[in-house]
Amino acid sequence: MQIKFERVSADYQFGPVRTPLVLNNVNTSIPAGSFTAVIGHTGAGKSSLLKVINGLLLPKEGTVRVGDFSIEPGKGQKGLKEIRKRVGMVFQFPESQLFAETVEKDICFGPMNFGMSEGEAKQKARKALQFVGLDEILLKRSPFALSGGQMRRVAIAGVLAMEPDILVLDEPGAGLDPDGKDEIMKMICSLHKEKGLTIVLVTHDMEDVARFAEDVIVMESGKSVFHGKVRELFNNDDLVKNWNLDYPEARKFQIKLEERLGRKLPRLCMTKEELAETLIEVGLV
């Protein structure tokens, strides 16, 4: 399922005050089945971009299209339920949304809100829990009796059980130790490869961008200033410098190496595997 942003602008209302635009004329589309990373500085509009996809933030101008559905000013809340069924959203620190008496009930919350019967929802819950790598035993436990890492996985399972077509995640690894983070990223990767979900991932980690994403959107002051292939971005030193972005570790190393060597390697290396291959190819190691 694809996502289209057509001249989308948005702002927030705090009492009598309207904030400056958090999204400013965003015009781009995310193809169905793609894995897109969204990067940019704090306050650039990454979270707002996510929220406008399922109508948590309504556009002031322009239209957001999710598959066959659309969100535009004046339409109000119409059609949002259909969209939210298909767009699974995992916020930062999602474990803070758990509330039910049992893990099972919490995971079933989403599916049942969208009309699934209890029986069906319980089935999906079991599948989702397995997928996130947790044991069935936990289904009858209170979510508050679990460890932080387990709680996070339960929260993600709650979103996966809705069987969305699109999965939107805001720094899903934030606050986790390296192992925990690796596992979550592996999970997201397999959701993309095995189930063909469209993935939109907000992240500050360039390793994740290099390793997992195909496309990348760079946000700056509410605008989408770049949307293209990940390689294209990291190959373009001017762009990276201009938007004050960071390189993946492998690329940084490559730049240092090329400086010392006085010549360039045949291709851009974004991961250690690419770098190793390239070094072997040119006979440096």
Partner: protein, 271 residues
């Protein structure tokens, strides 16, 4: 070598007596004044309880802790708490004041320090961390990194010689993290602080003079970052140069057996 400022001997602790294993088991180590020590280990290795034990928030089943020569027990813990400042993980859940300067002053109020002296110390600390312009700002308008800076200012104002970072930068974005780490390094040199950083971030551990590696509650290894980053089994990904070295070795290329820094790696490739 400067004098020992934290001495831990045979420290044993478990949260729940019904549990089978100790969270910390006969742990012993010494930290000298002016050192930056990193404590690393996987989740559950016991590192998260260490900070609380050092300030008497938790009581060990056995073992002794000496801070600056004073043995930690129920009657000395308040005296010891004057010498240690902790920056915890969640920037919000340790920010008590309704404004930046109120928060920095909090520890001083607790020590019943007169107003004039408080004002001086608060001003000095705020200047040191670069937050003087924010003195009257309320915390809801600060970023995570700024809140942690205020927390550090609170430790400085207290004139505590020991700074414990208890996974203090986990919730911050990488940029803020690196800025703060570099800042603390400067601060440590200037003010002669002893820093104990409990972390699972390789970059943070790289700033230390010495790393203590905990496994299952025991001290499995200790050494300089270079020595530790070469170990096979680490609780995080090693620095990139080391990752590359290991990968090349796996692919059957001839690489040196020991850890190389980025500089050394580049040198070696260019030979």
């Amino acid at each position: 070598m400067s004098r020992p400022i934290i001495e831990v001997k045979d420290l044993t602790f478990r949260y729940d007596l019904r549990e089978e294993n100790d969270t910390l088991s006969s742990l012993s180590f010494t930290i000298h004044e002016g050192e930056w020590i990193a404590v690393i280990g996987k989740n559950g290795a016991g590192k998260s309880t260490l900070a609380k034990l050092l300030v008497g928030l938790l009581q060990p089943q056995s073992g002794k802790i000496h801070i600056d020569g004073l043995e930690l027990n129920d009657s000395t813990k308040w005296e010891i708490r004057k010498k240690i400042g902790i920056v915890f993980q969640n920037p919000d859940n340790q920010f008590i004041g309704t404004t930046v300067q109120d928060d920095v002053a909090f520890s001083l109020e607790n020590e019943n320090i007169p107003y004039r002296e408080m004002k001086e110390r608060v001003d000095w600390a705020l200047k040191l961390v670069g937050m003087e312009e924010f003195r009257e700002v309320d915390p809801s308008r600060l970023s995570g990194g700024q809140k942690q800076r205020v927390s550090i200012a609170g430790v400085l104002a207290k004139k505590a010689p020991i700074l414990i970072l208890d996974e203090a930068f986990v919730m911050l974005d990488p940029k803020s993290r690196n800025e703060l780490l570099a800042f603390i390094q400067q601060l440590k040199r200037k003010e002669g602080l002893t820093v104990l950083s409990i972390t699972h971030d390789m970059n943070e551990a790289a700033f230390s003079d010495r790393i203590l590696y905990l496994k299952n509650g025991k001290l499995a290894n200790s050494g300089t970052p270079e020595e530790i980053f070469g170990l096979e089994d680490l609780p995080f990904h090693p620095p990139f140069s080391e990752q590359l070295r290991r990968l090349l070795k796996e692919l059957g290329r001839k690489v040196p057996e020991q850890y190389m820094s980025e500089e050394e790696m580049v040198d070696w490739i260019c030979k």
